[in-house]
Amino acid sequence: MTALIDIKDVSHTFATDGGPLHVLDHLNISIEEGGFTAVVGPSGCGKSTLTRLVSGLMKPDEGEVWLHGERVKGPRSTVGMAFQNPVLLEWRTILDNVILPLEIVPNKLSRAERVDRAEFLLGLVGLTGFEDKKPSELSGGMRQRASLCRALVHKPEVLILDEPFGALDAFTREDLWQTMHKVKSEEPFTGLLITHDLRESIFLADQVVVMSGRPAHAQYIMDVPSTGERVIDDLYTPDSAERLNILRHQIQIAQGREPADVEAAQ
């Protein structure tokens, strides 16, 4: 059984003006092909650093990151990324923003095929009719949808989302969660989601990793059995309440606001 994403014993230290900053400490996470893992943890614990390691934007000091049986040595076009800031290019239309990765990644698609692909994804996220608009003409939620399409347009194996819904209001966010489910069922990918929202983590992911405070390791891993299609109501079942409670408790430990379990403290 091989995982599609395998983070093996990764440690990383940044050199900062205030001296070395030990961010990750023997971090282990593994994600199955087609899986969707959410990572939660205290602010500044190294979650974005983790995404940069997986996408090959950075190399870890120690340990290894493996993608599809190959060790990650640099950026690769089989990865798609989206951030909290949708970073759309204001001078391009929404359609051309979505097409951007196809201009970078080697491929033989004609312009018409690229447009088709982009339009299909825009349709999937409910942005049909907005192809020719400029990003400034869209709401925050719509921009984030477009950013999601851009991350998926080149059919990446791995989709990395770093707090993509963090800046949106609660209702828009829930809309986007459902969109994510729809996208996931149409577009096969293996997902790594960084989030601050515990409800989001259990709604979207089949595995939730709680990272400890700095230097961070995987403090707690929760499996969320998938029961077919999820709807927002699922978040209000006793099962979900139980999970959220556990996660909240783990976050408090990670933040150092609550003593760890007795065994761990020894």
Binding site: S55, P75, S77, V79, V87, W91, L100, P101, I104, K134
Partner: protein, 253 residues
């Protein structure tokens, strides 16, 4: 809508000229204290060929200096924008260079390249105007949000691709902002050289000849011609900005 856009500034100019005329008339100033707009017409009629020839000379040398400033300033801005070491190294030098009043450089340049009038003038226009361009390009590039770079870099894009696809277009609004300043500065540089180092060319030289011949209406007429050229150059930049960086404009509400 567009009629209004032309009408409002035109009316403003007319009101300005009327007030000026009124001021001179009410105070009974002779034209060697201050010429009035009604003195300007005859000056233009008498010297129209000189205005055309000298105006053209001022114009092309300003534009040449500015073109050099754009090429050099952009290159310098790119170097400083991409490399923090170069930024730290060059910034103080650049600020020091910019702080030297160019009026003091003019005679030096005039002596260094005696007789090379066109070259002198273009050089001053260039020296005075490249600074804002270099600074704006370097700031534009160095403040590019890392996510923009990461989006392309995570796909394996080269530095050059990132520059062409993102960094350059994203810097254009700042670049044009600086260009509006630079165009005015280049214009000042050209005239500085034309007046300080008289060689009978350009509107600056025409101004100088007005002074030596005590032809005051001519001097004022040159000032107005300079203002007119300055406006034309400025609005050329505005039009270019609309074409190349129009996306950065806020939607009018």
């Amino acid at each position: 809508m567009s009629l209004k856009k032309i009408a409002i500034p035109t009316i403003a100019v007319i009101i300005f000229l009327l007030l000026w005329e009124l001021l001179v008339w009410a105070n009974g100033w002779p034209n060697f204290v201050m010429a009035s707009p009604s003195d300007l017409g005859p000056a233009y009629v008498r010297y129209w060929d000189l205005f055309l020839i000298n105006g053209w000379q001022t114009l092309w040398r300003t534009v040449a200096g500015l073109a050099l400033a754009i090429v050099f300033g952009t290159a310098l801005g790119m170097i400083m924008g991409f490399s923090k070491v170069m930024r730290d190294a060059l910034y103080p030098l650049l600020v020091g260079f910019n702080a030297i009043p160019k009026a003091t450089v003019v005679p030096i340049i005039a002596l260094m390249f005696v007789g090379a009038h066109d070259f002198n003038t273009v050089l001053i226009a260039f020296m005075i105007s490249f600074f804002p361009i270099a600074v704006s390009v370097s700031i534009g590039l160095s403040t590019l949000e890392p996510e923009y770079r990461d989006i392309l870099r995570s796909l394996g894009a080269s530095k050059m691709t990132i520059f062409w696809k993102i960094a350059l277009p994203k810097t254009l609004p700042e670049f044009f902002g600086a260009l509006k300043v630079a165009v005015t500065l280049a214009f000042i540089g050209t005239n500085l050289m034309e007046i300080v180092s008289p060689h009978g060319r350009g509107l600056g030289a025409l101004f100088d000849s007005g002074r030596t011949n005590s032809d005051y209406p001519l001097m004022f007429a040159v000032l107005i011609a300079l203002a007119f050229l300055g406006i034309v150059l400025y609005y050329v930049v505005v039009v270019l900005e609309k074409i190349f960086a129009g996306w950065a404009e806020r939607q009018e509400t």
